[in-house]
């Protein structure tokens, strides 16, 4: 059996990649993908612990998270389209007017 630590290492790696993606990428689409990556790393942790502890709560939450993530992705993509229509770019650094 694969030890729980292996799952956790993969989850942390995925989460770290997601965070780095958000920090480094200029493309809004890629940022959204990185956010999905972070969500799914959390899902992976939930499922892993569900199996180890033999309870179904984690499974239930993961389904919930997947549903919400799907909805969120739909809304987020719609916003990206609107942003593109306004500025003809999806470079996140161009959307920096929300300051002092």
């Amino acid at each position: 059996m694969v030890p729980i630590s292996a799952y956790l290492i993969v989850a942390v790696a995925l989460f770290g990649i997601g965070v780095l993606g958000v920090m480094i990428s200029r493309n809004i689409i890629i940022i959204m993908m990185s956010v999905e990556l972070m969500l799914n790393s959390a899902n992976l942790v939930l499922i892993a612990f569900s199996r180890v502890l033999n309870v179904v709560d984690g499974h239930a939450i993961v389904f919930l998270v997947l549903t919400v993530a799907a909805a969120e992705a739909a809304v987020g993509l719609a916003m990206v389209i609107l942003l593109y229509r306004n500025r003809e770019t999806i470079n996140i650094d161009r959307f920096n007017i929300l300051k002092w």
């Binding site: 996140i92 959307f95 300051k99 002092w100």
Partner: protein
Amino acid sequence: MSEYIYLIPLLPFIGFLINGLFLGKISRTLSGIIASGLVGLSFIVSLMLFFDLKALPADSRVMEQVLFTWINSGSFHVNFGLLLDPLSAVMILVVSGVGFLIHVYSIGYMSHDKCYGRFFTYMNLFTFSMLTLVLADNFLLMFVGWEGVGLCSYLLIGFWFEKKSASDAGKKAFIVNRIGDFGFLLGMFLIFWNIGSLNFHDVIQAAPTAFIAGGGLITAICILLFVGATGKSAQIPLFVWLPDAMEGPTPVSALIHAATMVTAGVYMIARTNILYIMSPDALMVVAIIGAATAFFAATIGMAQNDIKRVLAYSTVSQLGYMFLACGVASFSAGIFHLMTHAFFKALLFLGAGSVIHSMSDEQDMRKMGGLKKYIPVTYWTFFIATIAISGIPGLSGFFSKDEILWKSFSSQYGHPIFWVIGFVTAGMTAFYMFRLVYMTFHGKERMDKETKSHIHESPKTMTIPLMVLAVLSVVGGWVGLPHIFGVANHFEHWLEPVMATSNHVAVQHALLSSGANASAEWGLMGASVVLVLIAIFLARLFYNKKPELATNFQQKLKGLHKLLLNKYYVDEIYGAVIIRPLVYFSLFLWKFIDVVIIDGFLNGMATLYNDISETFRQGQDGKLRSYATIFAGGVILILFYFLME
């Protein structure tokens, strides 16, 4: 009748309200009639109350009316109370009587002015304040009137405020008076501190037990009150505002700066004579200041060329006489001269106003001359006032001035030096007054053709008050004939209840030595009459018969003439010694303390926070990626913190 005292100040106040609230809404004629009429009514009420007072027996001649409690705070209790006794009766008659005549005169004099209503508003407010001042039964209410007349003086000197010199003169009067008022206030505080009341009656009752006669405390109080009097009554060292006050309309100079307001200081000292009599040192100060002012102002008056300035210095000089009288503890002589002076000086100013009016606002005597035949009524009334002030026997000024001279010689507080100063001053008074008359009314006509064609006698509203005042200037002195004429001095007798304790000494003194001194009094009187006649003769020689003599004389004494013409450079000295350092000190406070230190500190704080904010603001750059980085960094730090525990 005593319940009607309040009407005396109230009537002019009603005039003030009507004229002030309906300014510009009522016609000019109506405004003048209301203003003069109400002051006239006030005079009638004063006259009726005077006769009521006279009907009472001499020792109970006091009427009081407390209208309401004004301040009641702990042990501090002040009523709005009016006090009518022989002293205030004289004052209200002078103020409302002369005031009424001047109001009537103003109807004619101000007829060409565009701010007619405003003028009468101020004049009525002044009359109200002055009557409050003289009728007050306590120091604080007196101070209210005192400040009220000061305010009106400021407003009326600066009446033609478009002219810079007029508004400056107003400010000067106000500020100089403020210095005097400071002394008055301190004196009042000391009185309250030691006696616990400001009511005249209480103070007079308590004074003999509360103070040690001749002690430092009573002297301090008297000197502080006298500082207030020097401010209001234009004595050395605070006389500088009065000559400048001539920037105001001439009726104002007559009413405020000759007849009434400037005598408030004399009135105040006479009112508190019980305190002064307890402090011989303070009396000495009053007498010295009075004599010095009388002398120096008269010397300045001899060299001035502006008709109103001569009269202004003459006023200062005559006020000096009144203080000299008070200083030798002869308060009734001071009040007597106050009254006669109010008549003839008001007449002189109104006559000068009439001259100025006919000369199309020319005030320089060097551009007048020979006016006698053009404006005869003005000339004759002016001439009567001139001989009255000069001290020609039979006229009011002679009796009052001679009484002061005699008292300054004979009183136990007097001294022959005071008499000599007063005597010389009397000569100078006659000289500068006749110089004025000769330069203005006699001799060559020195005005230009344009002005000459406009010369006209003033309208009836102006000449009638002149004539009434001329009569008063003649007969006004007959109420106080000296003892040596073999008749009782009614005026002194009338004021006796108010001055009882103070006059007691003087009266006894006079009785003891009356036989021996009668010849001395005749002699001194004769000497002053001779001196006056010589002075008149000299003035006639210099300014009428041989004008070149006067010019020669001026050439010879060039330095002295320049000194006098420039009023001993007093304004310049005050400017250099007091005002300039004050200005520099203020500049220091402004430019250094305020701008550098206080503003510097506040601005420094603001700059500091601004800089800190600027630094931190850089972090908020609006870029999502940097926010995410900081956020992630924060999460990592928190995680570390928990893991380390």
